[in-house]
Symmetry: C2
Subunit: 406 residues, 2 copies
Amino acid sequence: MPKISLKAANMPQSPIRKLVPFAEKAKKDGKKVYHLNIGQPDIETPETLLNAIKNFAPKVVEYSHSAGIESYRKKLVTYYNRYNIALDYSNIMITTGGSEAIEIAMMTCLNEGDEVIIPEPFYANYNGFSTQANVVVKPIRSYIETGFALPPITEFEKLISSKTKAIMICNPGNPTGYLYSREELNSLKEIVKKHDLFLFSDEVYREFCYDGKEYISVMHLDGIENNVVMLDSVSKRYSACGARIGAMISKNKEVMEAALKFGQARLSPPTFGQVASEAAIDTPDSYFEKVKTEYVSRRDFVVKALNEMDGVFCTKPSGAFYCIARLPIDNADKFCQWLLEEFNFNNQTVMLAPATGFYSTANAGLNEVRLAYVLNLTDLKNAMQSLSEALKVYPGRKVKAKEAVA
Amino acid sequence: MPKISLKAANMPQSPIRKLVPFAEKAKKDGKKVYHLNIGQPDIETPETLLNAIKNFAPKVVEYSHSAGIESYRKKLVTYYNRYNIALDYSNIMITTGGSEAIEIAMMTCLNEGDEVIIPEPFYANYNGFSTQANVVVKPIRSYIETGFALPPITEFEKLISSKTKAIMICNPGNPTGYLYSREELNSLKEIVKKHDLFLFSDEVYREFCYDGKEYISVMHLDGIENNVVMLDSVSKRYSACGARIGAMISKNKEVMEAALKFGQARLSPPTFGQVASEAAIDTPDSYFEKVKTEYVSRRDFVVKALNEMDGVFCTKPSGAFYCIARLPIDNADKFCQWLLEEFNFNNQTVMLAPATGFYSTANAGLNEVRLAYVLNLTDLKNAMQSLSEALKVYPGRKVKAKEAVA
């Protein structure tokens, strides 16, 4: 029997999806599982998008242009204009989800063995895409105490070597919910300029900025236009994760021309999803206002509930729909599996993502979990109650309950 | 300005798509261009597929399972059963087009520097996917005189080294239209078994086998179940290229488990396309009978018309909807560009794919082109007339016209 490749052997399992068999078993056994483990919102997809699909009546479902349907790319220019991002449609290549945008950006810009610096915790699949591209991730720790603010730029300087080719950020952040300030982005701009690095920025959560805080894009940074590659997706924006439509965006012509060669090899991004996403650009503001209000109330509820649990800590994130909580536990992987396998409260349990999968540094995040507040308030209340009860009885609890300490 | 990667620089341009700017220019100038260059059929997508999309009314367009929607995978088992291919749904991973199936299969099975033997001419994007995976293509020539039959197995033996990890075929063949016989597949089985290689087989044209000839799948070959990986797509089957739904299929559990890790990194294949493709399995046989009758009449017309042109040769293919023709020209790339830039007949011209892009050997196929007979008979008649006139006046004509010789 022929052997699989080393790359396949080294490819990390998705830390978010690897617990799925345990969840399936729990459900088979009749338990109600609250899914806070994955960024699959319950928010309804807007009618603009769904109606476009209903009314799409082609005679032939054809390939699109490898860079995407031209009218969609042109309409995206108007969408980005709303965020003061000035683009030409030739700066935009439509991809199959944000995932493919990252894959193609890495293959286009990075050689094997090149290093990319990423503040951690970071979106777990950056590890997978780096493995695919034979790229080395150099993590820099950010910490829960500061809400996962950008690490000091001196920490970046320390890591930069002749192999460093890029810095990658996610803003607003998954899994942290952190929204980078203008100062933080300016400091990134300086270091990118100084060392002539690529700056990859995953900005798929731009619609989800709270408390009146400002969204600053890497596309707003003057003077590094040829260094910046923005990675985007409609998945979260329109609660349309299954459409698998994203975009790779750069003003660097050489980068976009090379990226198109990878795009041509796979022929084209999905036609249905593009038609739907083009129409979705006309989604009224009222839709987003409603969604934001909903997420803010969920966030406020979850963060308060978590901090009220004995030995639990989390800060209030300003963006996206995730937060990371520190729990009084020995091992987040064990705990998350135990929640599904061993625990129930009124026949309910909760599925969380162990934060270990979001760190590249070994043993980092061992007592942290990521929660996606993608369920309605009633479900979130039940989920928080289950979690609270679980922490009381988990055999691997590290910090004693307050009553016990007192 | 940071440099793009070596891989990006080395990534081949699609030989099929690189002429697109010249075609766009020709159309802008008011010329009618007959597209025989690309496998985008004009055949109508079946209603089964289109209605499923019209009636798909989810509240949320969710991610699917990374391996695809379970009900679709299970229904595909019944589809393959019709071809005497016995599968369990766990043998099937749904991919974003056949393209992603090939990408993931290569990453899963082949190490950097590993060699894959492919009879040439072959589907041009195999070169691109090999570049992406850092895999080395070792081509073996097949020849127009035999209709591009499988090269003698002794030629494969000559190429096999410690680096050889796989053989890849396309059956029925793109760009050749050749349908491998049971004997040819058995000879491949023996060599695969002897050297314990992977056997990748791209079988996306199985619906298009003509003249009562039998379709033999690699999945029919006993005793090499752990070596075989079948690559599939709905694009041609249902004239739904834009759906971007394919499949990677193998009974090798280790391969499928590893492949799923790449699948998890990109989250899921497109939901709309999967819903459509699942419904399409119920497309009545009458649809395919009609389509086959149409393709056979197109093929017969095109092959006859070509062979009637002075100095042109092609054989009659038994499958797919392509044929390769040898033309009396100096250079197919130049000729195809000239057709778009310089030539017109009654303000019409034809776009062909230079065969050079389908060969890995330098300078092979210099006087060959691939034609996709994906237009209706009226258009094909006009296209063949244009080509015939073009060959008479092309400045790079090599073989003199009969009249001139006589």
